[in-house]
Subunit: 188 residues, 2 copies
């Protein structure tokens, strides 16, 4: 189980085997059911989560009651509400499970203790932040530079499993379009 | 001149004086005129920029030709097109000077050489990334959870100098509203 996570880390950074084992030993294994809320809006994200299998997403609800999905993971990825994790202020985002899922989690205190103690872990965190920022920025760029149809086509090309495994409702919130628009684009 | 930058760094991280001096010595001082384009869309951001005085912003142009301003700085802040700086792929963002400005710049290669050599500089980069991500996320949250009027009122309360020093056109692109809507809100 933790082998998947180990491989994820060692593909990104150089870290000594004994340091890595010590860090991994501090992660807890956790199973959650489909539709489980892992973090609610208003709660502080006190843990770093890595999704092993299943499907988890982070999203907000706008003041008009619309869901906006920021990130979807089908495993082998961190799924933390990073802003709240960094600032330790209440999260604007929810994290929920779209399928039965298995996660590894580590407390924020342990996580940052290791970034101080283990240089490779600090670099791992740096890579996470770089990925999170560039991913977020690319998402914004897509939203402002591509039409709804172009966003759908890009998703279909780059991440076809999103469209196969997720409901139309979730895909629509990810593309920031209405379900009606999504149905119309798909039918063409 | 570089004292401002030194202070900015040492307020964030612990770094040895001689390491800091070595890093600072690798920054180049640069003056740009109002309206100068520091980075164009399609160019690779090969330098890390720190704004000393003046006013610089990063923005995109949507496919409909609308400007969207991501970040505005009035000095004492990094003003890098971070996605392109990290990935070394062409930038979607422009960087331009809204006032005559003075910057410090360092090549991407030197920047990352120092993150490897100097632990305090790696931590400085980590803090930059944390700030960039949480700032970006807060901006998105504001866009999806606040009305145009609420965004204006928040800016007026938290950053009144934006409204005093910037043209209506720039403030409108920062708040992601039309100039007409901005004028209507201001007149109330």
């Amino acid at each position: 189980m933790s082998e998947i996570f180990k491989e994820f880390i060692t593909q990104l950074v150089i870290i000594e085997e004994q340091d890595l084992n010590k860090i991994i030993a501090n992660f807890k294994h956790q199973k959650v059911k489909r539709n489980a809320i892992i973090l609610s809006q208003g709660e502080i994200c006190t843990h770093f989560y890595f999704l092993i299998t299943g499907c988890v997403r982070t999203y907000y609800i706008t003041k008009e009651g619309q869901e906006k999905t920021r990130l979807i993971s089908f495993g082998d990825n961190p799924v933390t509400a990073l802003t709240s994790f960094i600032t330790q202020k209440p999260s604007v985002e929810f994290i929920d499970a779209l399928e039965d899922s298995e996660l590894l989690s580590m407390s924020q205190a342990d996580f940052f203790r290791f970034t101080n103690e283990v240089p490779g872990w600090a670099t791992f965190y740096q890579k996470m932040l770089e990925f999170a920022f560039t991913f977020q920025n690319n998402r914004i760029e897509d939203l402002v530079t591509l039409s709804a149809k172009e966003r759908y086509e890009k998703l279909l090309k780059e991440r076809p499993h999103y469209i196969q495994r997720l409901s139309n409702r979730i895909v629509a919130t990810y593309l920031d379009i209405s379900q009606e628009t999504l149905s119309r684009i798909k039918s063409k």
